[in-house]
Symmetry: C2
C-alpha cells in the first residue's frame, strides 16, 4: 500500500462511444502507481466520470495519459449532451485521501495544469481550493458559456486562463483543474409522502439558503416507496460533519412531526468520516485512526 494517496475524479465529454471510453479507462489502468476504482458513463449527458486513486506522481501521470487518450477521440465541435461542458477533459479534481494535505493537492493541480498546457495546448483554469481568484472557486462560474462561448470569453482579461495563452483548443476546449475535499452523497428518507416537507428541510440545512456551510440539499420524491427524501452532498465532511447534518435534519423533521425512517450513503465514504460518526454518537473522549485494526495492520505492512 502506498503511503501517500490522492483520489482523482476526471469528467470527460464522452458517454456514448464505448470503445473510446474503454481506451481512456485503459490509459489510466496502464499507469503502475494508480488504481481505477470506477467508471460511470451517462449517454444522455454524453459524459463519463473516472474514479481512480494513486500516489501523487502516479495520479499526475494518469491525468496526462488520459488527455493523450481523450484528445484524438473527442471533438467538442460535434459533441452534444445534456450536461454543460467546456473541455474534452472537462474537469480534473484532486482529493487528498491519506498522507497528503489539501495544500499538496493544490500544488499537484498547479503542476498538472502547467503540464496540460505544455503538452496538449489546452488552456487550464484552476478552480475550487486551487482557484487564484474568488470567482474561479465555483466550477459552474468558470464553465458559463460552455465550449462554444469560450472563444469570446477567454479574450476577456478577467477570464484569461491560469496556464496557457488565451486561445481555446480547437477541438478540446479548455479544462478546469483543482483540489477539493472528498464529497459524501448522503440521503435521508422521511416517513411522509409530502414533498413540501422534504423541500422545506432541504432549504433549512443547505448553505445556499442559510444552512450549514458545506451542505448542498434537494427535496425529492421516492415514488415507488411513497415517501420523500432529503438528498444531500456534503462537500467538506471535516468541517461540516455528517452526524451534525443528520441531527439537524432530524430536528427540522420533528417540526413537521415526521420521522427519519432511514438513510443511505451513495458510493464511497472515507474511513475518517466513519470514525467521526463513532466519535459523535459514542461520545468518544479520545480516539485515533491508529486504533482501527485494519489501519494498524496496514501500517505494520507498510513499515517493512
Amino acid at each position: 500500500m502506498w503511503e501517500k494517496l490522492v483520489e482523482c475524479v476526471p469528467n470527460v465529454s464522452e458517454g456514448r462511444d464505448k470503445a473510446a471510453i474503454e481506451a481512456m479507462a485503459q490509459a489510466i489502468r496502464n499507469v503502475s502507481e494508480v488504481r481505477l476504482l470506477d467508471v460511470q458513463s451517462d449517454p444522455d449527458h454524453n459524459r463519463s466520470v473516472f474514479t481512480f486513486v494513486g500516489t501523487p506522481e502516479g495520479v499526475a501521470t494518469a491525468v496526462l495519459e488520459l488527455f493523450a487518450a481523450a484528445l484524438p477521440r473527442i471533438d467538442l465541435r460535434v459533441h452534444r449532451g445534456e450536461h454543460p461542458r467546456m473541455g474534452a477533459v472537462d474537469v480534473v479534481p484532486f482529493v487528498p485521501v491519506r498522507g497528503v494535505k489539501m495544500q499538496d493537492c493544490v500544488a499537484l493541480a498547479h503542476k498538472v495544469g502547467k503540464e496540460i498546457w505544455k503538452k496538449f495546448r489546452v488552456p487550464v483554469y484552476l478552480y475550487a481550493e486551487s482557484a487564484t481568484r474568488p470567482e474561479r472557486q465555483d466550477l459552474s462560474e468558470i464553465r458559463k458559456g460552455e465550449f462554444e462561448g469560450f472563444f469570446e470569453k477567454i479574450k476577456d482579461p478577467n477570464w484569461h486562463p491560469d496556464f496557457g495563452d488565451p486561445v481555446v483548443h480547437p477541438t478540446a476546449g479548455v479544462t478546469a483543474v483543482g483540489a477539493r475535499e472528498f464529497l459524501i452523497a448522503f440521503n435521508v428518507n422521511l416517513g411522509t409522502s409530502d414533498l413540501r416537507v422534504a423541500k422545506e428541510i432541504a432549504k433549512a440545512v443547505r448553505f445556499s439558503s442559510g444552512g450549514l456551510r458545506y451542505v448542498k440539499a434537494l427535496g425529492m420524491e421516492l415514488r415507488e416507496r411513497g415517501i420523500v427524501q432529503v438528498s444531500m452532498n456534503l462537500t467538506n465532511f471535516r468541517k461540516t460533519p455528517l452526524p451534525r447534518v443528520l441531527e439537524l435534519v432530524r430536528r427540522e423533521a420533528q417540526r413537521f412531526g415526521v420521522p427519519v425512517v432511514g438513510t443511505e450513503i451513495v458510493g464511497l465514504i472515507p474511513e475518517e468520516a466513519l470514525v467521526q460518526v463513532a466519535e459523535y454518537y459514542l461520545q468518544l473522549e479520545k480516539f485515533s485512526l491508529g486504533q482501527v485494526l485494519e489501519r494498524r495492520i496496514e501500517e505494520a505492512l507498510r513499515g517493512e
Copy 2:
C-alpha cells in the same frame, strides 16, 4: 495485503526477563507472513501478551516458532506471578479478521494444537469456540489448579487433553488453544462520583448477572477525575453490538439521573464494528464495507 487475515494473541508466562521476551518477539517477527503489532509485558503478572496478525499459514508457523523460543527460556517450576497460569505458553487464541470464518479459526486451532503436541510434547486443551466439551469453553475452568495442580488434574478422564497423552510437560505445563471473536474493550464514563451507580449499571448490563450475552462489566472509580466508569469487554461485537450496549448503559444511567460524560475504546477496534456504529446511529438502510474508500482501494490493490 493478504486476502486472509487471522489475529493471534498468545499469552506467555514471562514478563520480567527482557532478553527472553525479545527473543520470543523476534521469533514471531522472523516469520514472513505475519506482522507483530504489539507486545505487552507485566512484571507483576510475570506474563507477556503478543498481538500479531497474518495469513492462517503464517500465524500457525509463528505459534510453533514462539513455542520453540519460549520452552528453553521458561521453567514453570520456578515461575511466580500474580496471574494464574498453566503453561509456559499459557493460551493461544485465534481471531478471524478478514476473509476467514470462525470455522476456519476452529480448524486452525485443531491443526496447531496437534502440532504443538507432536513437536513439543506439551498437552493441548481446545477452548472457547474450539472447545470439545461445554466445560472447556471457559478458559478459567480449564486453568483451575494451575501448573502445579495439573499433574493430578490431567489424570482425571474428564480432564484428559484434546491432543497428547495425559502427561504434563515437566517445565512447560499444558496449553489452551482456541478460536474466539475479536474482543473490544469499551469504557463508559459517568457524571457522578458515586461508585454504587457504576456497579449497579455494570450488574444490569453484564451477562453473568442477567444482562447482554457477550458483555463483561465492572464498576470502577476514576479518582483523579472524580467520576466513575463502567469498564466493559465486548466478547462478540457481531452478536452484541457496541451501540446497543452503550444505549442500555445510557438508559440504566438515566434511572439514577446520571449522564454519560464520555466513552473510550481501549486498544484496537475492527473496521466492521465502526460500520456497525454508523449503521445503528445513522439508520443506514443498506451499507457494505465495500463502500469504505480505503477498503475499496485495498481491494483494487489486491486485485493485481
